[in-house]
């Protein structure tokens, strides 16, 4: 079974996010694999291991030929990676990204496409299902368990009140929640081997995508302004010296709950 895992390479999530003058996410620093994508890589690796054949291919779109995050996924055990990197992609929105990823994934004809439910930096949360629509694939979003037997995917999909059990034949796309599996830590061999694994870098022209459909020009919305949210000031902070509960009770009584 061949699995494509979509990997987003993002700025360090521990650093506060910032926007460029053009109101796009600032990605000038070194990029790293989105932690949310490690779950997808792990699910892909487990499914290929269970199937006994096939491979996991990582697909990513990033500026400046950035491959740091892809190497992290390769170190976990993915066989190879495909990066789409092109200056004309600067300012591309979620749908434009989906077009690029769909074109890159379509060349690979995988049995299964896996992505995270949303990225940690932009959290638009629409790109994977846009990819599914563009590729004509059925999708199971927000899967918290994924199994494949006999070419049929069975999963548990989150709902507002619990979860549904769902089924669909492959090929298909799933988005997996954090916690679906425990992502493996790359071992030393994985890390040293990652730099030797095949990594293909493609341009927009390689994918035969019309440059006007992507980039800032292809984005059908204009950002007018970005402002700090109305500040919500902190209030009283006390150190518990054994009687803090009394202050909480007083506070609650003041609210007349």
């Amino acid at each position: 079974m061949n699995v494509v895992v979509c990997v987003k390479q993002i700025p360090d999530p521990a650093e506060p996010g910032a926007l460029t003058a053009a109101h796009t996410l600032d990605r000038h620093d070194k990029l790293t694999i989105d932690e949310a994508d490690r779950y997808g890589v792990e699910v892909g690796l487990q499914l290929v291991e269970q199937a006994g054949d096939g491979e996991v291919v990582l697909v990513s779109m990033a500026p400046r030929g950035e491959v740091g995050g892809l190497r992290q996924g390769l170190a976990m055990g993915a066989a190879r990676a495909v990066l789409v990197s092109d200056d004309v992609l600067a300012g591309t929105d979620a749908l434009g990204t989906a077009k690029v990823l769909a074109a890159a994934i379509g060349r690979l004809s995988p049995d299964l496409v896996i992505a995270a439910t949303e990225s940690t930096d932009g959290y638009t949360g629409t790109t994977p299902v846009q990819v599914a629509e563009l590729l004509g694939l059925p999708s199971v979003s927000f899967a918290r368990r994924v199994e494949v037997t006999g070419g049929r995917l069975r999963g548990q999909r989150q709902t507002e009140s619990g979860y549904d059990e769902v089924e669909v034949d492959l090929p298909a796309l799933v988005t997996v929640t954090a916690g679906v599996v425990e992502p493996r830590y790359p071992n030393f061999r994985g890390i040293t081997g990652a730099s030797k694994k095949p990594l293909e870098v493609l341009s927009v022209a390689d994918l035969r995508i019309d440059p006007s459909a992507v980039g800032a020009a292809g984005a059908g919305q204009a950002v007018l302004s970005v402002e700090p949210a109305p500040a919500r000031g902190g209030g009283e902070v006390i150190l518990d010296e054994g009687d803090a509960h009394q202050r909480i009770v007083e506070f609650l009584e003041g609210l007349k709950l």
Binding site: V140, G162, V166, A229, E236, V237, L255
Partner: protein, 327 residues
């Protein structure tokens, strides 16, 4: 005009869709809803909250709403542009701005918006927390720390976070029910639901409770969550959780408050052992009052808490529970 995705649970429209119908009504212009299944049982409720017409894509046949609803919406929007006038449909541009599609920010809503976006070749804006009649939308970014304002160039698809609008019924007549034909969608609509599981929780619903008590990693173990449930019971509230302990498997996902979980705006939000990751804060910072207990004095949650207690939840909470029991 506004087209609202009307999600349902049985014979009831979900609170999130009622909010969007109300919000659309206040934005002005014609409001129409699109749902699935038997729309007749929803017509009175849809009309009261603002819809003049309620379209239905028909029975889902055990499938997920996403592909079918997206295809139905795409058909409806095409009608709106091309044959709008003769079908009695209102042309785009009426009521200020182009046609807007309002979609609840939940699991099915995101599927619908994503597929519709790809189908129409139109972008989608998510995490919308406000929208005006001129088509300018507000978005919470960086976990709600900043507000971004954007405008679509053309018809817009807006995925709106819960509680961005207030659900209010009017004296509107029942919506006119119309079928919305969706042809054979082939493979994209092949996913079938084989079983539904409801993870019941006692007490009021998390997103409707006047009080929410949430626990996080600071509880130390899954057993620590029992204190959260007890405190919620004593305060007549619901028990919530941070993503960290949901991912760790301590509590079901249905308890999660935050970006990927529920958005709550209770009168009182009590955060115990929660540091306040932006992921969490975006789901609860609209609460009227916030109390936080955390042992780390630098926890970001203290920056928005009305009352912050720097201390060990295992010491503070048992005493608080005892004091509330004796009250």
């Amino acid at each position: 005009m506004s087209v609202v995705v009307v999600e349902r649970v049985g014979d009831e429209i979900t609170p999130a869709s009622l909010e969007l119908l109300s919000g659309a009504r206040h934005l002005g212009g014609v409001v129409e809803g699109v749902t699935w299944g038997d729309a007749n049982v929803l017509a009175a409720q849809a009309g009261a909250y603002g819809a003049s017409v309620l379209w239905s894509v028909g029975d889902l046949g055990g499938g997920l709403p996403g592909p079918v609803m997206a295809a139905g919406l795409a058909t409806l929007l095409a009608k709106d542009g091309a044959a709008g006038a003769e079908s009695g449909h209102v042309a785009a541009g009426e009521g200020g701005g182009a046609t807007r599609v309002l979609v609840p920010h939940d699991y099915d809503g995101r599927d619908i918006a994503a597929r519709l976006s790809a189908r129409l070749d139109r972008p989608v804006l998510t995490n919308v927390v406000g929208l005006d009649a001129d088509g300018v939308s507000e978005h919470a970014i960086f976990g709600g720390a900043q507000v971004l304002k954007a405008r679509f160039t053309g018809p817009g698809i807006f995925v709106v976070r819960a509680k961005s609008f207030i659900a209010e019924a009017s004296d509107g007549a029942p919506a006119e029910v119309r079928p919305l034909a969706v042809g054979d969608l082939g493979r994209i609509a092949e996913v079938k639901i084989t079983a539904c599981h409801v993870e019941e929780q006692a007490g009021p619903r998390l997103d409707q409770a006047p009080v929410v008590v949430s626990g996080g990693r600071g509880l130390g173990t899954a057993e620590g969550y029992e204190m959260i449930e007890e405190l919620a019971r004593l305060l007549g509230g619901a028990a919530g959780a941070s993503r960290a302990i949901v991912d760790a498997g301590w509590v079901p996902y249905s308890h999660q408050v935050g970006q990927t979980g529920k958005t709550v705006k209770p009168s009182l939000y009590f955060a115990a052992g929660i540091s306040g990751a932006t992921q969490h804060m975006v789901g609860m910072k609209g609460s009227s009052h916030i109390v936080a207990v955390n042992k780390d004095p630098d926890a970001p949650i203290f920056a928005i808490a009305d009352l912050g207690v720097v201390g060990d939840v295992h010491k503070v909470l048992p005493k608080l529970i005892e004091a509330l029991k004796n009250r």
